[in-house]
């Protein structure tokens, strides 16, 4: 399983992914699920992936090949808007489907590959997209400024309750890490390290990236403080009258 989150803020973007991949409980490995394409002062493009690792890696390889080729239409480095980048990612998924779809179907395996795409191209504001297996996509709006892919449910209530687009980057990063903590507690197939990339609007460079593993003090602190805090809130609420 996987857990990835992208949040669109007034101040920029927060993007985070776990690193656990499993093909059954006896085959667990660590793979980065975050890819960043940076051209300082031109664009910063970040992709988070979930689903079948073979399919998402294949799509990323295609995108990388196209980025070195001459065909401008499929070259993310030549895209004028993030919308065009989303189209290229969708196109890559469709090519992978052409290649692998039928064979997967014969083996009873679902074609499951989704991406969160966030970033900024000079001349545009930062934008955030959720790209589906079919290559179609939706874009984040002020009403729904975040996307999750993979194991999304355990970590959703904290976003529903707390997230505001006006939050500072670091506050949103804290919220994202709390959401990861809730998810990792309830689903063993989501695991450390976490890749955390915070992008400041109009910086057009990768300034704030960190990887957080087992030994990360902030992560263990958040786990303790959030857990203890919830218990305090719980204790402070009066119990119900059982008879109504």
């Amino acid at each position: 399983m996987t857990y990835c989150v992208g949040v669109l803020l007034d101040e920029g973007l927060v993007l985070a992914s776990d690193s656990r991949t499993n093909a059954g409980v006896d085959n667990i490995a660590t793979f980065r699920k975050m890819s960043i394409i940076e051209k300082t002062d031109k664009h910063v493009i970040c992709l988070l992936s979930a689903g079948n690792l073979g399919l998402t890696q294949s799509a990323l390889s295609l995108i990388a090949e196209w980025a070195t080729g001459k065909e401008g239409r499929l070259n993310v480095n030549k895209a004028k808007t993030m919308y065009r980048v989303a189209r290229i990612v969708g196109q890559a998924l469709r090519e992978v489907y052409e290649e692998d779809g039928e064979s997967l179907q014969r083996h009873g395996t679902e074609f499951n590959a989704t991406f969160i795409l966030g970033g900024q191209i000079k001349g545009e504001r930062p934008r955030l997209f959720h790209i589906y297996s079919a290559g179609n996509f939706i874009e984040a709006t002020p009403e729904t400024p975040f996307f999750q892919i993979g194991e999304t449910k355990y970590g959703k209530p904290v976003f529903d309750r707390i997230l505001k687009q006006s939050m500072p980057l670091a506050e949103a990063a804290k919220l994202v890490l709390i959401s990861f903590d809730s998810t990792m507690r309830s689903n063993l197939s989501v695991g450390l390290p976490i890749d955390l990339f915070c992008y400041e609007s109009d910086s057009l460079k990768v300034a704030h990236y960190r990887q957080m593993g087992e030994a990360d003090g902030y992560l263990s602190g958040i786990r303790r403080q959030w857990g203890e805090g919830l218990k305090r809130v719980f204790i402070d609420i009066a119990p119900p009258d059982l008879d109504g």
Copy 2:
């Protein structure tokens, strides 16, 4: 969708269910998903149901018919242990499968009907079971003293963090209601009223039952206090250093 929870405590049982049933978003109705069979001083048996309403209602009708019949083996009122009651519920599901399974399959509908069974029969301690569509079941243990059926994920993190088997009944009821609040916020197909039944060990009667709807003051209080409390805990945690 549905959300039902059963918790096994040193002091007894807390059982709760929502009341929303939907067959697509344009066909939403209210159905109780909690059934209680009580014979004061002999036994108290509570069933919570999730899945296809036609199937669970059918199973409950069979159990009710069997309870008036002569065949002792299938009569829950004559069961000497909760294990035997669980077997009867399983048997009812299997009979419904015999009747409806093949036809559902032809229509591409999954045979989905699960129960949480909690209660006490004189001579035994209170026991809690999770009964699957196939009629097989598992029993709660001190390591895992709760079961959820239906839309289980949004409301699980609070159990993982806070639930203790040694909690007083009313505290566990509070936790169950917080779990319902998280679920209802994130999934519109789980809805009020909530049936809440708290069973005191060895009471062998239904003493504490209440139904909580829109106008319930405790429920709206918990929603506000939990939400505000989480925000306070969130604010009190320092944000991460974005650069590690």
